[in-house]
Amino acid sequence: MTRAWVFARRDLKRMAADRRALVVNVALPLALTAVMGLSFGGGVFGKKGISAIPVAIVAEDVPESMRTRLLEGLEKSGFFAPVWADSLAADTLVRNGKVAAALVLPDDPLTAFFRADSLVVEVWKDPSSDIKAGIVEEIVGRGVLRVQAGEAAFRALWPDDYMTIGADSLGLDGLLEGDVTDIWTRLRDPGQTAARERAFDFLVRQFDHQVALQRALQGAAAGLAVADKVPTGQEEQRETSLFDYFLPSFAVFFLMFAVAAGARDLHRERARRTLQRQLLGPGPAWPIVVGKWIASVAQGLVMLSVLLGVGALLFRVNLGPDPWTLPIVIVLTCTAAAGFFLALALLVSREKVLDNLCTAVILVSGMIGGNFLPVDNLPPWAAGAGRYVFNYWANLSFSRVIGGNEGLSGIATPLLVLAGASLVLLVVILVLFNARVKRGGWA
């Protein structure tokens, strides 16, 4: 193995000195990763999933304190990015597509509430943003439905206490008109003591009924229970995106090109006669090809580690449930890839042929192995054929670790396939290389 390391060290030195290869193998995939991450991912560059919907709120007669609380509440929901606007400005914002919708609260809503007038909330939608505007309409509509249901129940259960009817029957007419300050001033008037007591009793009943309604709703016959099911042992919910899949699958795709170039170097060395010169050294020939294999594996390890590391750092790509599962997948992917392309190089006699063969093999195995489409979404024929290429098993392992947060036990089968393929391919390249040396095929 010491001799193999001599050859591997030389190749690694050459790789490090080759700026063009560094650009193609590391910088280009990194750039693509960044573009993909910004397109599909989240992380430090933005939120995953649907971003907050911009809405304009028109509430011209609502006091400042209430506005602030309303704004905070809407922002806290995570669904909205609200801005205050008067009706004219809101109209312009919607028409110009600056907000998906505008919510227009009725004039003097508090008075309308106390007078039991119908509260109509208008929604102005931007038709070019129909999904987001639709979401706004749905959420507001749900709130309106809830108010309507509560009011209908109130009317049915306590018709005497229903706001205007009850207030009129108690002789409170005129007492509960105007804004809150007006009502409060009237109620504090000493001449209104009797009316105030009646009003107090009335309001207490109102609250009692509201509480009763709340309790009744808690025991309702129908309900909706939504639960997030996160993987066992993971405390926080983890969101996944397309990027989680495509980062490793693109990394594997680039890895194939890199190790194919390493395999081609065997033929280039033959053309330059450096291979023959190595064969003239003392000792067996096999360390030459094992050295190439080690260098290709090392190159792949650096490539995949850098790409996944950058993905994790910048786009919060999940690196698996423990520190060892992903590194094992990376190592086995690289050993299988290096063995596969070196075996291919040893099966053909000329670099040009190998060049074309590698390109065709990478594209086809990329298609059937899930480098362009997630393995779970491949058509059955492709998934069936994909089982015969190493990248299918690599992509499957990566998607389960990164997307599904599965540990070693969850990816035992693909890992065993990758390990077995690596071993078989290593034996194949040793046999092919030595056979060619024996028949003087490298001279």
């Binding site: 001799r3 030389r10 050459r14 023959q276 003239l280 050294g281 001279a443």
Partner: protein, 313 residues
């Protein structure tokens, strides 16, 4: 040091080397002369254990190259015709790699690398990538890389191909120096003057067969002391010239090559005035009349009917 007996190497039905026999003594500088495709590189390939012979026997330092390839490889160094170096690495990195390949390491390797850089006059350029070197510098590095493990026998396969006269002169100087140090060298070339200048003995190879073997003087003596007088005449006068020449004293034969008449004679100086007189009498110009003393080129021409720089068929 090297014994080659009836060596045969075939590629399919084509015999690239056909019954070659020669031996090289320890410390001898042996030239293998022949045009491209004559079988020189194939012979070196078999001698250096890279190719397996289809017949015959080759022994180097007492070891059979087939059965004792491992021992033979310890004895030999090979400098291929191509620049068999990593041009994307520096000269020092290249030499360090080739040294490690031969099991050298540590201070001994560092010392040997420095020695070779000095020998190749590349100390100042040692940290530069080889791809930035001139053709001559690359050739010198290619040569010393074959010496990293201090071999007893060095195979040099056309080490001066594709470089200018000055660079070639430095390479030849370097090889002569190695010869003086007692290294056994097999030197293949199709440059006649290199073989004449460097080699103690020369084997002339053509179409896979060794057609002549010996030192320069003995080879030339194989074609006698014949001078060659060449002249150009209109084609319709060739017959008249041949007829006249048959009666000239000292004229041993008249041939024709590439449209030129060639007159063979033991003493060109005596026959030349006779030819000039005949030309004047027949109103023919005296231009393009030349006399050539016997050398390896004439030997090669005599033996094969082709020039050394013409590729083998």
């Amino acid at each position: 040091m090297i014994e080659v007996r009836d060596l045969v190497k075939k590629y399919g039905s084509h015999k690239a080397v056909d019954g070659v026999t020669f031996s090289v003594a320890r410390g001898e500088l042996f030239g293998l002369l022949g045009p491209n495709g004559a079988g020189k590189t194939t012979t070196i390939g078999v001698l250096s254990t890279l190719l397996h012979a289809d017949g015959g026997q080759v022994r180097i330092g007492g070891h059979d190259v087939a059965a004792g390839a491992k021992e033979v490889r310890r004895l030999i160094g090979v400098v291929p015709q191509e620049i068999a170096l990593y041009t994307d690495l520096t000269a020092r990195d290249n030499l360090m790699f080739w040294g490690r390949l031969h099991g050298l390491g540590g201070a001994a390797l560092g010392k040997r690398v420095e020695e070779l850089l000095v020998m190749a006059d590349l100390v100042d350029a040692a940290r530069r990538k080889v791809e930035t070197y001139s053709g001559g510098m690359q050739r010198r590095l290619n040569l010393v890389a074959g010496l990293i493990h201090e071999p007893e026998v060095l195979f040099l396969d056309e080490p001066t191909v594709g470089i200018d006269a000055q660079a070639r002169s430095r390479i030849l100087e370097l090889i002569a120096q190695l010869g003086r140090q007692g290294l056994t060298v097999i030197y293949t070339t199709h440059y006649l003057e290199e073989a004449e200048q460097l080699c103690d003995r020369i084997g002339v190879i053509d179409r896979g067969r060794l057609v002549a073997l010996g030192d320069k003087e003995s080879l030339i003596s194989q074609i006698g002391d014949a001078d060659l007088i060449r002249l150009s005449l209109p084609a319709d006068r060739h017959e008249a010239f041949r007829a006249a020449g048959a009666g000239w004293p000292g004229c041993t034969g008249i041939g024709e090559r590439r449209g030129k008449l060639e007159v063979r004679t033991p003493d060109g100086g005596r026959l030349l005035p006779v030819i000039q007189e005949w030309l004047r009498a027949n109103d023919l110009p005296l231009e393009q009349l030349e006399i050539e003393r016997p050398n390896l080129e004439t030997l090669y021409l005599t033996l094969t009917g082709r020039g050394l720089r013409e590729d083998a068929p």
